[in-house]
Amino acid sequence: MSRPEAIRAAALAAALCCGGAFAQDERLISGPGSTLTENKCKICHELQHIRRAQLSPGEWADNLRNMKERGTPMTDEEMRVILEYLAVYFNRENPAPAPSADTLAAGGDDPVQKLLNANACNGCHAVDKRIVGPSFREVAAKYAGDRDAPARLVTKIRGGGQGVWGAVPMPPNPALPEAELQRIAAWVLDQK
């Protein structure tokens, strides 16, 4: 990356991501579908946009349709899960139930999937298809045969980037501990 590009990527990452000011913004009330909801909504806006809205199920349905029109990459099935979650936990007419496990989170108890979900990686990446960013399989293929791959991928996940896979930047993840970064990188490189 040239210097102007690097500056631009850093500025974009800052504009997109936010750093410490949004640390408290990372999660919604845990419940079936909360992780998918976080992953999809965080691509474009803070979760406070959801947290401060108490809508009727009909209004949530309109709202989701509007977000899809505006470009949110989500399937009809994903939309259905998100609507069900929002209509239960952010409903003007009924108080939210107590937090419960997100039984619909991909991977269940798998520690790597938990990390990918908790950091919204799954909002933009999937194992075998492109969503916003490259599939994990494509990433693994790109680094195949590179001895420094784990360290390079750790740097990439921590710092974010832009230009390798297209114009859409990946936000940085500065708060992820080194051990978790290594765990994610190793898993991604295994997806050949």
Binding site: I7, R8, A11, L12, A14, A15, L16, C18, A21, F22, I43, C44, H45, E46, Q48, H49, R52, A53, Q54, L55, S56, G58, E59, A61, D62, N63, R65, N66, E69, R70, G71, T72, P73, R92, C124, V132, G166, A167, V168
Partner: protein
């Protein structure tokens, strides 16, 4: 004059950043999906993005930010106590990210139902047409949203947040349209801005206005705010200024104008910035019979005193404020200091420009100590008066209820 086409790479650049290709496709009734695919297929090199910290550096500390992605912010009513809104107090409302565009590279293209497509650089626009300056009101459709009960979704603008009246400099949209020549069936004009989304699938921000408003001599293609270049957050290098109408009509980072025979069909026209054709029961969802938002109804706010100020009971108090209406003119302003039991006519300053707010003043002599509230109520030239509670609507637009400011009157 030289109307050179932008070079190919520049064209692709614009197509890539905001789906410029999408406008024609959508305007000519192709599906959104196809248009997005087309935009995504163009080589995409996004513009630089202005970080929020740089935007905030140009604003007063009193600016309150309601969100960071997208960035939105406004100052409270008592920070508007100026003849016109200083640049560092003008409200912020983005739908997407803030692009860092090059004034020398930007080209404005006119296309659609025109006799000939034209392309202008900013310098060419400045040379080719009469340059005008005018004060004009811009107000976000959702300004005042938090007053609605139940609460509607969207940016939580405070009781008086989300409006500004700076002085704009630019050329008249009608002059530029005339240069391109409008075809007989041209009835609407769509503006498209170069603000990119966080992802390539983000729909471009495109809004259209009817031709009558486009041809109004106060509708501008502007490059200046309060005598200086537009700040990046407010649309640098070029934006539309459609004064009196909901802010989203005033496309920022303007690069394409398209003449159409019908209102533009896209998510920012049909999914947002709409109100029910007939009022719905509060809490109900948007009915299929809805209309796009246009001009703001009559409204006013008190800019002095500030809430909770302590004022000496022995001195006369000049209550000051601003009154405006999206179309027409404000005819009178009334002030109450007894919670609306009696009303007293305020003095309205001369209207400087058709779409500028008008300053009002009222000399109040304290009659007792303790807490006093001032209420402000404007009336327009068609007899419309600010209501106690405006009609509720699902997206929380057009709040024009009475502004209320409480102060303490204390012994000298």
């Amino acid at each position: 004059m030289d109307h050179r086409e932008p070079n190919e790479s520049r064209r692709h650049f614009l197509a890539g950043i905001a789906g410029a290709g999408a406008l024609t496709a959508l305007g000519e009734a192709a599906s959104l999906r196809e248009a997005l695919a087309q935009a995504a297929a163009a080589p995409a090199a996004p513009p630089g993005i202005v970080p929020n910290d740089a935007i905030k550096a140009g604003k007063v500390p009193a600016m309150q930010y309601h969100s960071e992605r997208p960035i939105t912010g406004s100052v409270p009513a008592h920070e508007h106590d100026f003849e016109f809104t200083p640049t560092d107090r003008v409200f912020i409302r983005n739908n997407l990210l803030t692009p860092d565009l090059d004034i020398n590279a930007l080209r404005l293209t006119l296309k659609g139902l025109v006799d000939k497509e034209l392309t202008f650089s900013v310098a060419e626009l400045q040379k080719a047409f009469q340059v005008v300056s005018m004060a004009g009101m811009l107000e976000c459709a959702g300004s005042g949203r938090t007053n609605y009960q139940p609460r509607a979704s969207g940016t939580p603008w405070g009781p008086t947040g989300g409006m500004s009246c700076p002085v704009w400099t630019g050329v008249r949209l009608k002059d530029v349209l005339a240069a391109a020549g409008l075809k007989g069936n041209a009835a609407h004009v769509a503006g498209q801005g170069g603000d990119p989304g966080a992802i390539a699938t983000a729909a471009p921000v495109i809004r259209s206005i009817p031709m009558a408003k486009a041809m109004d001599e106060n509708t501008l293609i502007a490059w200046g705010m309060n005598g200086a270049a537009l700040p990046k957050i407010h649309g640098y290098p070029l934006r539309l200024v459609v004064p009196g109408w909901v802010g989203s009509a005033s496309t920022k980072w303007l690069h394409t104008l398209t003449a159409l025979d019908a209102p533009f069909k896209g998510t920012y026209m049909t999914g947002s910035y709409i109100v029910p054709k007939w009022p719905v029961k509060p809490g109900e969802k948007m009915p299929p019979d809805n209309v796009s938002t246009q001009a703001w109804p009559v409204k006013s706010m008190i800019t002095w005193p500030a809430p909770d100020q302590e004022l000496k009971g022995t001195e006369r108090i000049t209550v000051r404020g601003k009154a405006w209406v999206g179309e027409g003119s404000v005819d009178r302003e009334d002030i109450s200091f007894d919670e609306g039991i009696t009303w007293h006519r305020a003095r309205l300053e001369r209207e400087r420009d058709k779409y500028a707010w008008r300053t009002f003043t009222y000399e109040y002599t304290p009659q007792r100590f303790g807490h006093v509230t001032f209420l402000a109520r404007a009336t327009d030239d068609r007899g419309n008066v600010q209501p106690i509670t405006p009609y509720w609507n699902p997206l929380g637009y057009f709040w024009n209820g009475l502004h209320r400011v409480g102060v303490m009157i204390v012994p000298a």
